[in-house]
């Protein structure tokens, strides 16, 4: 037998762990000089620096830390939705618009429970469950009835609008008087800030507390998701999205895994909806509108800037992407160059421009590398 095919050599971009990297020739005969890799990385980080630089410049015209702290807090409450969107769009290859409905559903369930005296913390598992059910429904409609995922998810999200309305009882329900997950710790934390940083900084206390609490929560959620994705079930779920034909050939019912995955992703979105409603002080049936744009922006920005290679890196990347996105939106709203201000209506344009720049720069860097 002549020189047997081995997998010790790879034509890929990154060198294998068993051999020293060299500019080998791949099966297809295209040389891959290592220098281009550095060029690519450099372009990527340059993009990141430009983006951050723009933010800093904007900050120069603002001078209020409160805006940034608030943006971080909001970004963190939306982070689990970003992970959910990543799960459906990238991992499961199942474009899913249910998230707009399940985000509002999480908020609606939270509103209903809190006005009936339940603890803010109890609303979280309830919101997760309700939204997960919505996701499961979408999954079932899409896979069993063989309807395209976009259509199935639109159907469910539309139906959810009415359901959310019934749950809340009105289109907008104020929740300030019910408290939130911050309530038990607010006074104590304010005192801490007063002592540690001074009276003037107490104004940031609530937002800082939110950042700490929600930040810890997001970390826990992220780790749970990572752990699950590394488990046997999670691996099968990832494979069902990546290569359904392979999974069927291995005897697995891919439909079940997809359904479960869509349920999980929407459950995560429901959590975000609950946190958002509690933090912003009201629950609105329309609060999911535009979430898909934010989620996709987070995914795109996170992937482009952080270039994750493993799933744990990816979940961290999309959280980072959401934070960057919210900071950019805050920057747009607060830019004040000698009287020129962005209108709220312009924010959507800014979002689109940001996404375009991010995507274009990633294409450019790839071209530059080759």
């Amino acid at each position: 037998m002549a020189d047997p095919i081995t997998l010790a050599e790879s034509s890929g971009v990154e060198p294998s762990q068993t051999r020293a990297p060299e500019s080998g020739v791949s099966d297809s005969g295209v040389p891959t000089p290592p220098a281009s890799k550095t060029a690519r990385a450099a372009t990527r980080y340059a993009t990141a620096i430009v983006l951050f630089g723009a933010l800093f410049l904007a900050m120069g015209g603002v001078g209020s830390i409160g805006v940034w702290i608030s943006a971080l807090a909001v970004g963190l409450t939306l982070s689990s939705a970003a992970i959910g969107v990543y799960l459906t769009f990238r991992v499961l290859d199942f474009p899913d618009l249910t998230v707009e409905g399940s985000f509002a559903l999480g908020g609606a369930v939270t509103g209903l429970m809190m006005t009936n005296g339940y603890s803010p913390f109890a609303t979280l598992p309830a919101a997760f469950t309700a939204s997960a059910l919505a996701g499961l429904l979408t999954g079932v409609i899409a896979t069993r009835l063989k309807i395209h995922s976009l259509l199935a998810s639109i159907i469910v999200t539309t139906g959810l609008f009415s359901i959310n309305l019934r749950i809340l009882g009105r289109s907008n329900l104020p929740l300030l008087s019910e408290g939130s997950f911050l309530s038990p710790f607010q006074e104590g934390f304010k005192g801490f800030i007063r002592g540690a940083l001074g009276d003037d900084q107490v104004r940031y206390a609530n937002n800082l507390l939110a950042i700490i609490m929600v930040g810890c929560f997001v970390v826990v959620i992220k780790l749970l998701v990572d752990w699950f994705m590394a488990s046997e079930l999670g691996t099968a779920m990832r494979a069902s999205g990546d290569s359904p034909q392979m999974m069927r050939a291995l005897g697995r019912n891919t439909n079940s895994y997809i359904i479960f995955g869509v349920g999980l992703a929407n459950g995560l979105t429901g959590l975000a909806g609950s946190l958002a409603s509690q933090f912003q002080g009201f629950s609105d049936v329309n609060q999911g509108l535009g979430l898909i744009i934010g989620g996709l922006a987070a995914v795109v920005i996170g992937e482009t800037i952080f270039r994750p290679r493993t799933l744990p890196q990816a979940t961290a990347a999309v959280v980072g992407g959401m934070l960057i996105y919210r900071l950019a939106v805050a920057a747009a709203l607060t830019i004040n160059f000698g009287g020129f201000r962005f209108d709220a209506a312009d924010v959507k344009f800014v979002t689109a421009a940001l996404l375009l720049i991010t995507l274009a720069s990633s294409r450019v860097s790839r071209l530059g590398g080759q």
Binding site: V62, G63, S64, G66, V67, S70, A71, V74, G111, L112, T115, N116, L133, L137, V140, I141, R144, L145, G159, F161, I163, L165, R166, I167, L168, G169, R170, S171, N172, L173, P174, L175, L176, S177, V202, R203, Y204, A205, N206, N207, Q280, G281, F282, D284, V285, N286, Q287, L289, G290, V329, A330, L333, T334, N336, D343, A344, A345, V347
Partner: protein, 376 residues
Amino acid sequence: MIRDRRSSRQLVLWLALALCTLLLAACGGNSGEDDAVSSDDETQSPETESEDTSADDDSEMSDDEPDAEPEGEAYTVGLLNLVQNPTLIAIQDAFVAELAAGGYVEGENLTIISANADGDFASLPTLVQSQIDEGVDILAITTTPMLQAALNVTQDLDDPPLIVFNAVTDPYAAGIAVAPDDHPEWIIGAQMFPNIDVTVNLLQELFPGGTIGYLYNPSEANSVAQTEELEKLLADTDLTLEAATITDSSEVRTAAESLIALNPDVLFYSQDSTVGDGVAGLIQVANDNAIPLISNDPQSVSVGAALGIVVQFEENGRQTGEMAAQYLDGSLDPATFVIPRTEGFFYMINNDSIAAQGLEVPQEILDQAVDQTPEG
């Protein structure tokens, strides 16, 4: 293949069953309104707990009258509302009460049909049309978007029912009428424009030479009109106006934070419904930064604004009820009717917020204000 079809059908049935169950569960979970506690002052607070004229209930009754009724005619009035909130409900209640005082009592010679769009703008024309189809004599319209939809639906009709509007901030900016005496023949009502003049005087008194952080949604015609009025009146003062715009209730908090950066002495918004939906964010920012929040929105004070300068909204409802009663009497000619503006305002205060936000309220105002401070 056959097996797949059968199991698909089974699945559809199960899905339908699941959906029905979900709907039933959601209906059962309808929480109703039980936010702040109602206060027991002379003027009714907007946060009443009961809502027996709950707008999403179809309270249609049969047309047979008891023979004892001297008046021969029976009338039908349609109540149309955009969203559910205590202020609007109070206005509609006042409308119905005034109709009753004028001799038109529900169940005797009056049938009332209610509908509420619950914020779904797409369904407004349908709701209007369905009430017209039921043969209403009067359409009692609450809020501007509902009024615009009603105008659209009725303008090509030969014999449209009378439209009486309330809780409309500015029917002229909304394109309904040109002037109080120049309006479509079948549309009358009472304008509920906020008392910006009183507000500006108060702001001047409380914060001389100060900066006002102001929020509004420029895509609401009402808000643009209010903002213009505000700017006009502020020109004669030494107050500075810093405005931030929003398009969605979720942007309120961020916009408020951006205003903080400009060092305002007071935060203010008028009768903008988008800001109103997201007022919780504004309140949190006001509390965190110890900056007073003042508004013209009746809903805001009980939730956390410190001080409200609010139109006598119940009077607005009562005025329109009177118009409806007079029309049914035959003593009101809509074509020549001049649209009034509801005069009269009152103050609302929230003592908790006054303390948290650091507002110094003049004693005369404290004495006459309606206390909206939540209990407990």
